[in-house]
């Protein structure tokens, strides 16, 4: 256990993977705990609070909760980008586990693995969050 703890501390890549996986699991847990039927979400949209107008990510929590419960049609109606963002989180969770395994198993190819991971995850991130990114650049 101590070896594992020290190993993760000395390997920033493994530590990042572990933290990211933890954050994604928290997002999934948040979607599972809070109910779209009860509408008991603690997080509210700041833009909507300030301006009275919804933003591009409004309804994302509802959408995630509905996806977790298998109600995909309703999830799409709450936020059209909900599905692709949720897929990003799931794919990143899988990638963190797979890449961590390869990182430990094949120490010789670590550098290539990190570059491949950075490029691949960056691309997936851009595809998933493109509507939000264009929203930011459109505002600049």
């Amino acid at each position: 256990m101590k070896f594992l703890k020290e190993g993760i501390r000395n390997e920033p890549y493994l530590l990042i993977n572990l933290i990211l996986a933890g954050v994604i699991l928290l997002v999934i847990a948040y979607s599972g705990i809070f109910s779209p039927d009860k509408n008991n979400y603690p997080v509210v949209c700041i833009h909507e609070k300030l301006t009275g107008q919804p933003c591009v990510s409004c309804g994302l929590s509802h959408s995630f909760s509905l996806i977790v419960r298998g109600r995909f049609d309703e999830a799409y109606s709450w936020n059209i980008y909900g599905f692709r963002v949720f897929l990003f989180f799931i794919s990143e969770l899988v990638l963190r586990i797979v890449f961590s395994f390869f990182y430990i198993k094949y120490p010789r190819t670590r550098k290539e693995l990190i570059i491949f991971d950075a490029v691949g995850s960056g691309l997936i991130f851009l595809i998933a969050f493109w509507p939000f990114i264009t929203n930011i650049f459109g505002a600049l």
């Binding site: 990042i16 700041i46 833009h47 909507e48 300030l50 939000f132 929203n135 930011i136």
Partner: protein, 169 residues
Amino acid sequence: MEEVKNNKGQNLGIAALIVAIITFVLAVIPCIGLIAVIPGIIAIILASVGISQAARNNSPRGVLIAGLIIGIIAVLISFSQIFVGIRIANNAGKWPTDIQNVIDDVHDNVMKNLEDANISIKVENGEDKVEINANSSQKKKMEKTLENLEEGNKTSADTVSTNDTINKK
């Protein structure tokens, strides 16, 4: 002789990295992106303090630098959400005017069409058929008649009809 590795600043680095990654995830979502500035700044401070400690004690800085970079990127994305908010606010001010313009246009079109309208009403009841055709060519005359009626003046006819033609079949 075995080299003793100093881990000074590593705990701060891990804390900075955790906060930075959470900040990054929050920052890219417009709804909550604005509040991500606060944990982002905390992550940068933690990473900076950790880097200075690590530099003094010659300990590894990989985690600290990763935390610092992710924290800075997250704060930049979070700051950019302010512009999104400004754009939404600007649109919020513009939308009611746009909607009012559309309503005015529709109202003008409807009024214009009604002025030029030829109205035809057909009523059927069994074998009885009544067809009423009207247009607005006699509008001024009818308005005058209406004014007379409102003032209590008697009109030449007992009944006032806006119909041009009434055909009973």
